[in-house]
Each structure stands twice: as structure tokens, then as C-alpha cells.
Amino acid sequence: MYKLLKSYFIIIGIITLIIVPSMVAVIGEEPFLTSRISEITEITNSLDSDNPDYFANYTKFRITAEAEILNQADKNQTIIAPDLKLWINASFVNHSLKLELDAMGVGMIYYETFSPGITVETLAVSAFVNQTGLTQLPDGNYTLWRRIEGEELLTTISVTSGILNITYSSFDFQPTDEVNLSFVPPLVFISLFSHAIVVHLRRKARITKRNL
């Protein structure tokens, strides 16, 4: 019985020592980041015809917005910065229209770090709509969000006869499911300590038996 218990404790200890670090190395930290658009500050259009072949049939829109990034962790979070931080997609009433993102990027890897709490930033996105001379966003439903490695809360823009109805998302301040590995060292300690106690009790029992 004691031998079985001893083997059990040792195996548990070894497994914990081998598997847990590997898990930590693979999983790492949860990002804890949430992004939202707090305000759309400007929507402009331009009849850009710099490229005579390409832009001639398009209207270019540019949306500027205030974004907020909530870092719910108690330390800085660093992530790879996306080329295009503000994204938009659209579903037009006129199905012949399509939206193309002015998605430009660089070949360099950049990182961005967010302190605990809320970081506010001004971002912009440009997109082409395949119709010339548009003076306002075409009727339809648009979705706008700040790209991030974490939870991206959406802002929706509904356009009907040129009238915009914007719905912003709010942060949910419920605590996140934090990955807590602090239980691991106590677990190993309890396992080993229990083993020591069991062996000690066994030895004591033998000595008591002999004395009797």
C-alpha cells in the first residue's frame, strides 16, 4: 500500500515537472486585450484620379476614428502590430458595388505595447468603392473595428438615404479568464510533502510495532 502510494506521488511529481513547463512554453500568456471604436470623427471622400487607369472608376473614402484598447492584465502586453489597424467591411444595398480596402503594408515586423488600462489612439482607414462621383457613403451596412490580437468589439454603421446610424460597442469590465499557474508549485510541494509524511508515519509505525 505504502509502496504504491510512494510510486504514485513520485510519478505525479515527475509528470508535473515535465508537462507543466512544456504547457507554459506552448500556451504562454493570454493577451487580455480588447479593442473598440469610441468615436468616428470624420468621413471624407475624394475623387482621386492620380492613377488614370485604376482610380478613374472609383471613389475613395477615408474614415478617421478614435479607438480604445483595454489591457485588463496587470502588466504591459506586447503584440505584433498589424499593417492596417482599422478595418472596415460593407454590405451595400446596391449589390453591384464593392468595397476595396486601401490595405498597404511594410515588410518590417513592428510590435506595439499596451500598458494596463485603456490606451486611446487616432486611426484611419481608406477604402475604394467602384463608382465615380459618390459624395457620401452608399446605402448599406458597414462594420468597423480596431484589429488586435484579442477581442475586437465591432462598431456598426447603417446608412439609409445618406443618413448614418452608428452603434458603438462598450467594454465589458468583467474579469477575464486569467491563466493562473500559481497552483502548480504548491501542488508539487504538497505531493512531495505528503510522500515524506507517509514514509515517516510508516517508519514510526514499524518502530512502535518493534517496541511493542
Binding site: 507554459v24 512554453a25 485604376y54 476595396e100 480596402l101 486601401d102 490595405a103
Partner: protein, 388 residues
């Protein structure tokens, strides 16, 4: 006795536990970063004398430092990028470790006219909002192609700048094509990418014309580490995918840490087609994972010069100017061999690059491997001698 053994075992386990607690703080993020973003130690040796492994890997140190080969007056590289401030321009020309000669800054005014600036003191440069990437890219050229002439083409990055060309503008190609001979343009290096396919018949015509004039056009392959450089469903493959461009990926010049193996494609380096017809492929790789590049231009009053800080950077943004710098050495070597400023043909340059490639066969993800600068320079000189 047994209790002692158990106590000993317990102590050993606790020591192991303390080692594991060290593992807790080594997270994938840090493993992936490696030295990225950290300052290059002893830059006068590692960059000035090219002793960093990023340079010794290709033999650039032998050509540039040991043989003291600087680029002659008949090689010009066009760099298309996000912006360049007055301070950055001066830093690239005065930096003590390595520098280039920026001969012009091409941009488009808000009214749509073309402006060519030849002095870093021009007030127009003060309004640059988006920059830094261009600074880092040109510094990579400076490290290997010392004194080379550079023309900077300024893009308006996502509409943030008050001036600059739109990404897919025809005017850029019209100007470069028109001025190619007068400015002696040999190489175009573009470390950016776009989702929209701006290729038109008029742009294609200019690209073909430039190729016919012997200009080699290099582009960064991207940074999303997958087929066609896709990020969230959109493929950033303009201009990498197109026949006229040679797409450059990144190779790891050393085993750095998580996901990095020496002589293998870097984790972020994308790839294109598996067949070579049409050149919709990755052509070559050059080091791009942990290569010194300049950041944060400033005036150093102690040395009375403008300069920047060398930091380890990553991306095909670095691999592309690296190859552009090696091609500058090829052209300079050919000039030295032939004894005049006669340029090698584009096909001759390609042949030399293939000769000095680390792979003899094409691989979809690695192209023809990396180009060895020492082999390329030697071959170029020989070809020049043979052409005398």
C-alpha cells in the same frame, strides 16, 4: 536512512522547481523576439566593420571591409518607401558606421504636381508625418553598399501625410522611366506591399521599359509567413506576385531561438507559386531576421554629425535592400573588371545572382536561396574582365 534519501530527493525537486519557475517567465513572445529591437553592441565593429553575423553570413564583410570595396559613382538605387525626414536624410549621409549619398527625394505635392528635392534642408521635408521605415531600409543599403547613390520616392502612407504619391500611381513609373538614363538608375528596391492590384497596361508598359533598360526591380515578399502573403483573408501580393519584379524573402543567418533555424526560411517570410514560369515566385532570400538597421535619427553634438541607433530588425523589408546592396556590389565589380562605367545587362546580373545563390535548384518557399556577396562580386569582376 530512507528519510534522508527522501529529504535529499525533496531538495533536488525544489531546486528543479526553482528552475521551472524560470521557465514561466520565458514566454513565446520573448522567445520569438530574440534580440529583435535591442541595440547592436559595438556598432563600429559589428556594422562599421561588418562583423555582425548578418553580414559575415553572405561574405559581405570580405568584400566591403577586407577588400574595401565601396560603390562607384555609376550605380543608383531607387528606394520607394513611406517617408524620410530632413534629420533622417542627413543621418544616412553622415552616420559614422556606414552611409549613402541621397541624391534626390521625389514626391507629389497636394496639388498633384511632382517635386524633386535635392537638399535635406528643404523645408518641405518638415511636414513628413509617416517615416522611419524608409530610414531603416536605406540604412541596410548603407551597411553593405557604402556610398551608393539613392533616390527616394515618397509614398503617402494611408493618407496621413500632406503630400506623397498614392501607392499605385502611374506617375511614379512615368518619372522613373523618363529619368532612368539621366539619373543612371540601375536598381529599384521596394519593401512594401498592397492588397489592391494596381497593375494596369500603362504601368506594365513602364515596368517592361525599365527592364529593357537593364533596371532590376526588387520587392519584399511580405511578412505574413504564408502562401500569397495573406492576412485575415486578404492577400498582400501587389507587386511581389508580378513577372517584372523579383520577390525577396528572408533567411535565418543564425539559429536565434523559437522558430528559427540557421539556413532556413524565416518564420515571417511568405511564398508564392511552385512553378517558375511567369516568375510568380520567391526568387531569393537574404538575411532579414535580426539584422542591424538604423532607428531614431538625431544630431550627435559630441561628434558633430547626424546619426541613428543601430537596432536588430526583422522583416523582408531588410532582406530586399540587402540584395539591392549586393547587386550594387555586382555592378561596381563589373565596372572594375571592364574598366569603364558600362553596366552589365539585366540578364548578366541575373546570371551572376544565380551563380552566387546558395541553392542550385528552385524551392517554392526558399527560391534559389541566398546570394553570397563574395561569390557574386568575384564573378562580376571576372565577367567584366572577360567583356573587355
Amino acid at each position: 536512512m530512507k528519510l534522508k534519501k527522501i529529504i535529499a530527493l525533496l531538495i533536488i525537486m525544489i531546486i528543479e522547481l526553482s528552475a521551472i519557475s524560470g521557465v514561466y517567465i520565458i514566454l513565446p513572445k520573448e522567445l520569438m523576439l530574440g534580440q529583435i529591437g535591442s541595440a547592436v553592441p559595438n556598432p563600429s565593429v559589428n556594422v562599421g566593420d561588418l562583423q555582425d553575423k548578418a553580414y559575415t553570413y553572405t561574405g559581405a564583410d570580405i568584400v566591403v571591409h577586407d577588400y574595401e570595396i565601396h560603390i562607384d559613382d555609376y550605380v543608383t538605387i531607387v528606394v520607394i518607401d513611406d517617408g524620410l525626414t530632413s534629420t533622417e536624410w542627413k543621418a544616412l549621409e553622415q552616420n559614422p558606421e556606414a552611409n549613402v549619398d541621397i541624391v534626390g527625394f521625389l514626391t507629389e505635392t497636394s496639388s498633384g504636381s511632382i517635386k524633386y528635392i535635392t537638399s535635406p534642408n528643404d523645408d518641405y521635408l518638415d511636414d513628413q508625418i509617416v517615416h522611419e521605415h524608409g530610414f531603416a531600409v536605406i540604412s541596410m543599403i548603407a551597411a553593405v553598399a557604402r556610398d551608393v547613390e539613392v533616390i527616394f520616392v515618397d509614398l503617402d502612407y494611408l493618407g496621413f501625410d500632406p503630400y506623397g504619391f498614392e501607392y499605385g500611381e502611374y506617375k511614379i513609373w512615368d518619372w522613373i522611366n523618363t529619368n532612368q538614363a539621366a539619373k543612371d538608375i540601375d536598381i529599384i528596391s521596394w519593401s512594401m506591399h498592397h492588397y489592391v492590384d494596381f497593375k494596369t497596361s500603362s504601368i506594365l508598359q513602364k515596368w517592361t521599359s525599365l527592364k529593357n533598360k537593364g533596371v532590376i526591380m526588387l520587392t519584399g515578399a511580405g511578412k505574413y509567413g504564408n502562401y500569397l502573403n495573406v492576412d485575415r483573408g486578404i492577400s498582400y501580393k501587389y507587386q511581389s506576385y508580378y513577372t517584372d519584379w523579383y520577390a525577396i524573402g528572408s533567411i535565418d543567418h543564425e539559429t536565434r531561438s523559437y522558430g528559427s533555424t540557421k539556413n532556413q526560411r524565416s518564420w515571417f517570410s511568405p511564398w508564392y507559386e511552385s512553378y517558375t514560369t511567369g516568375n510568380h515566385i520567391i526568387n531569393w532570400l537574404e538575411p532579414g531576421n535580426g539584422v542591424p538597421a538604423l532607428v531614431d535619427a538625431y544630431y550627435d553634438s559630441s561628434q558633430s554629425c547626424y546619426r541613428g541607433t543601430w537596432k536588430y530588425s526583422e522583416g523582408t523589408s531588410i532582406s530586399t535592400p540587402y540584395l539591392a546592396a549586393i547587386i550594387s556590389l555586382i555592378i561596381t565589380g563589373y565596372h572594375a573588371g571592364i574598366g569603364s562605367s558600362t553596366d552589365p545587362s539585366l540578364q548578366k546580373v541575373i546570371d551572376i545572382l544565380q551563380y552566387a545563390s546558395s541553392r542550385s535548384s528552385f524551392d517554392q518557399k526558399m527560391g534559389y536561396g541566398y546570394v553570397d556577396a563574395y561569390m557574386a562580386y568575384g564573378r562580376a569582376y571576372t565577367e567584366g574582365r572577360l567583356a573587355r
